[in-house]
């Protein structure tokens, strides 16, 4: 079964490229790349080189008005005051036609453990609710981190500690029983925050609220019905990014309270929304159906009439492909990327290829409290692991190495030209192995005896030969025969033992990247007071860097600090929490649909999907193109 936890091939509810056309924001987050370009300190060459590794090359180029092709004459970046840019998109975007029903598997899976976005432990409820509910602010481009208002039309903060939001006055809950089309006010937002902070249900019980720690100590005031004032316990430069994450959706109070007891049973009644789509059907075992919300405050959205996600189709690759080739679904991805490519190549005029970086970072996690106490051993392992071999072995070469900040987070990652000079990332395997062996011997590696690098069973599903590959890789690299590899599970072997320091050495997916801004995650993982600092890192210099990075809203400064922090991490083999790589997913979609992608496909170049979740942009970007020769009556006449 081709499930990847936390996401995997994201639904490419396709997008059009004019990302910033007409989108403005006032104050608050400024356009980092824009300012960089304006100061003139970045030459175009370096600019391009710096971000191509993220795969958002073309996107950022259009962001600042440069040509699509590297060989174009260098057009100086243009900008407009107030933080807007005109996107000089080289491909003319097709005219927008309203109507049509999109069918596709746009989520990574259909497992929902709760209808309550506050309580759901799995990411799926966050993804689905992004189509139906709104957030306070949202990403206009989740990969670069540019923000725009959602429920808030304006916001201001002087010190990243006190935030004042002006709530839109035209947001209405959907016109169905329970909500009856009532107005959304700041009171809804107040409830949204305070409920999570308190972590209690109406009956007084206190089950797990997934994001409670985000809201602890936050003071909420509503001076009037359309103003929200938040005072954080400490300055937080990433607060707005956190508010924009895919899981930060504002649910409806009445419905959530009504279904509190039966929160595990799916029903569309439990999630009435304010966004462009409403849930028409949401039941276990049945197709998920979203339909257009006529009362949505963005009057021109969505373009389509509805979306259908066929339940269970994702499970069998043959059924999925059958459905796609017969135009019963609009997008598809095969477990074997070369198959996807072949199908696309066989249908060059009618299908489009789309590439997306997958936010599920692959991690090698060593237990530094047990066998790997000596930091030299950790550094040796960082060099012994051959990231590129793993990308070849499991993903057929579609992937790129990732440092402590992944290449998806282009604003903060170490630049690729720089990263390949660091130990563990160097291209000369001979040197890596030589130094690894020296460190291994110096750190007393051979005396450790048997070392088991365990692989969770969910990883072994799609990549069943991992045990053999990993065992051979480490034994060969270090010139020993100590390594074995067995299976384990996240739930029994890893997660309960993380806090205790009793976890095994393992390799597989880690928390998926959900923000272009890594500062909170870096703090959580490597600060001495971080809540997920499993390696119990305690480095005062690192602590200071991470603290300062967190509180500043000056992006240039934040970036510098994060880079310095990464230097420390890279020198120390990331203290055992060794990021390996992020891979790339290839999918195909029929070109009768204008997909929710970051960059349109152009001659010879595939489209680029959003690496981070961008379902909330589907309403804006997803539409049909009846002029496409592939458009048939069967597509046109879809009903739900």
């Amino acid at each position: 079964m081709q499930r990847t936890p936390g996401g995997g091939p994201r639904g490419h509810a396709n997008a059009r490229a004019d990302l910033l056309q007409g989108e403005t924001h006032q104050m608050g987050q400024s356009d980092y790349w824009l300012r960089k370009a304006q100061t003139g300190r970045v030459t175009r060459r370096r600019f391009v080189g710096g971000i191509t590794a993220a795969g958002a090359g073309a996107a950022s180029l259009s962001l600042v008005g440069c040509g699509d092709d590297d060989d174009d004459d260098a057009a100086e970046p243009t900008s407009a005051p107030g933080g807007t840019t005109t996107a000089a998109s080289p491909t003319t975007a097709p005219a927008v036609v309203d109507g049509g029903v999109y069918t596709g598997v746009w989520l990574g899976g259909t497992q929902f453990d709760s209808v309550d976005p506050h309580r759901g432990q799995r990411d799926e409820v966050g993804w689905l609710s992004s189509y139906v509910l709104n957030k306070i602010v949202r990403f206009s481009n989740p990969d670069t981190g540019d923000l725009e208002g959602d429920l808030a039309e304006k916001w201001e903060t002087a010190d990243s500690q006190t935030f004042t939001f002006a709530v839109r006055k035209d947001v209405k809950w959907q016109n169905t029983p329970i909500t009856n089309g009532r107005q959304l006010t700041a009171q809804d937002l107040k409830w949204h925050i305070e409920r999570q902070a308190a972590g209690k249900l109406l009956d007084g019980s206190a089950p797990s609220f997934r994001f409670k720690s985000d809201w602890t100590g936050v003071k909420v005031e509503t001076p009037d019905d359309y103003t929200l004032k938040l005072t954080l316990p400490a300055p937080n430069g990433s607060f707005l990014t956190r508010l924009s994450a895919f899981f930060a959706n504002v649910p409806n109070r009445e419905a959530t309270e009504k279904f509190e007891g039966a929160h595990g049973t799916l029903t569309e009644e439990a999630m009435p929304g304010t966004n462009a789509f409403t849930l028409k059907q949401w039941r276990t075992g049945k197709d998920i159906i979203l339909q257009k919300n006529p009362g949505h405050f963005r009057k021109d959205q969505p373009h389509i009439d509805g979306m259908v996600n066929p339940w269970g189709l994702f499970e069998d690759p043959n059924a999925y492909r059958l459905a796609f080739e017969q135009k019963q679904v609009d997008a598809w991805s095969s477990p074997d990327p070369s198959v996807t490519k072949s199908v696309i190549d066989a249908n060059k005029d009618n299908m489009t290829e789309s590439l997306t970086g997958v936010a599920n970072t692959v991690l090698l996690h060593l237990n530094v409290h047990k066998q790997f106490k000596d930091p030299r051993l950790v550094k040796a392992m960082n060099m012994a692991v051959d990231r590129r071999q793993l990308i070849q072995a499991f993903h057929q070469g579609l992937g790129q190495v990732s440092g402590p900040v992944t290449w998806l987070q282009e604003g903060f990652a170490v630049k690729p030209e720089d990263l390949i000079k660091r130990p563990g990332f160097r291209t000369d395997r001979a040197i890596e192995m030589k130094e690894a062996r020296e460190l291994w011997a110096a750190g007393g590696g051979p005396a450790l005896g048997d070392i088991d690098i365990r692989i969770p069973d969910t990883w072994l599903g799609p990549y069943p030969d991992t045990n053999q590959v990993v065992k051979k890789m480490f034994n060969d690299a270090l010139g020993v025969s100590q390594f074995t590899s067995t299976k384990c599970t996240y739930n029994e072997d890893i997660i309960p033992n993380l806090a205790k320091g009793e976890y095994p050495n393992w390799m597989a997916w880690t928390n998926s990247v959900n923000s272009p801004d890594p500062r909170i995650d870096l703090y959580t993982s490597f600060h001495s007071k971080g809540s997920q600092n499993w390696s119990r890192v305690n480095n005062p210099e690192l602590d200071t860097l991470l603290e300062n990075a967190r509180v500043t809203s000056d992006l240039a400064k934040a970036r510098e600090l994060v880079l310095k922090a990464q230097d420390i991490l890279l020198e120390n083999g990331m203290y055992g929490a060794i990021n390996l790589y992020n891979y790339i997913s290839r999918s195909a979609f029929w070109n009768y649909v204008n997909a929710n992608v970051k960059v349109q496909a152009s001659a010879g170049k595939p489209a680029a999907g959003y690496n981070l979740f961008a379902g909330h942009l589907a309403a804006k970007n997803l539409s049909f193109n009846p002029k496409s020769p592939a458009y048939t009556d069967s597509v046109k006449n879809r009903k739900f």
Binding site: D336, R388, Q392, G399, Q400, P416, D465, A608
Partner: protein, 331 residues
Amino acid sequence: MTQTQQPAALPAAGYTDFRRRRSVGSTLRRAGALARRNKLGAVGVILVLLILFVAIFSPLIKRYDDTESFQTANPDFNPTANPFEIAANPGLASPYILDRWESPLGSDHWLGTDQFGRDIYSRIVVGARLAVLIGVGASLIAVISGSIVGLVSGYFGGKIDLVIQRFVDAIQAFPGLVLLMLIVSIMDRPSLTLMIVALGFLGFATSVRIVRSSVLGVSQAAFVEAARSYGATDIRIMLQHVLPNILAPILVVFSISIGAYILAEASLSFLGLGPADKTTWGKMVNAGRVALDLHPWESVISGAAITLAVLGFNLAGDAIRDELDPRLRGR
């Protein structure tokens, strides 16, 4: 009609007296005559012998390590390539590339390579050994356990028989693959050995049935009564008189069901429940099926291997059955 002599005292036809010995020569001649008479059976036996040969000698004939991915050096390696470049040329981001999906035609690899650059011929050869182990192993377990239980159940009759038979009914009342799926899921990604045990457990019920009904028939025969009358113990009777006469149906069940176990393992692999540590033919068919129209050789060749193996064992088993006791046909 069997060709053995029957002692005059036996009223029930078809039961053989195993006391006569035969020479090797006459056995071979009998084999030749058999082959001429039953051509399909001969084909089956040849296939079985072929598969056994491959299975036994697989370490010698396999050419490459079946888990080794073939890599070649990559002159285009560009460590800072962006995803577009990588997608157009996947090898770009790596100093070596996998020999992916090589067709058997015009390649060093006799049967091509799979998605990860592994030689298919070697994997088929190694898979032959696994298929034989699975088929024969599971069948042995099923038949031996089933025979013991069936013998006891049929011979003693009464309450023991009643309870055992109901238990067997219960196992057979589970629909199709379900019991097998349940057992394999409990074992949680089992090794090959455990998988064989699980498969054997499934066939146990059928063996019990068949053995029991044969035992019932034999128990009524006069020579058994005679043996009892001169004071032989139950165990003695079971082992010396009953067992030899039910060997025929046991042998038939054993040989006919080998193919079924190989197919059952292929089905489990299709559903993703196959053995965790080894690559069986069933797993290869499943792995190759996403690309069946583009790179058919992995699935087609391993599917053909399964088919031939099952075919061979079935035909051979049919021939054995036809030969030993015509009465058993259709039961």
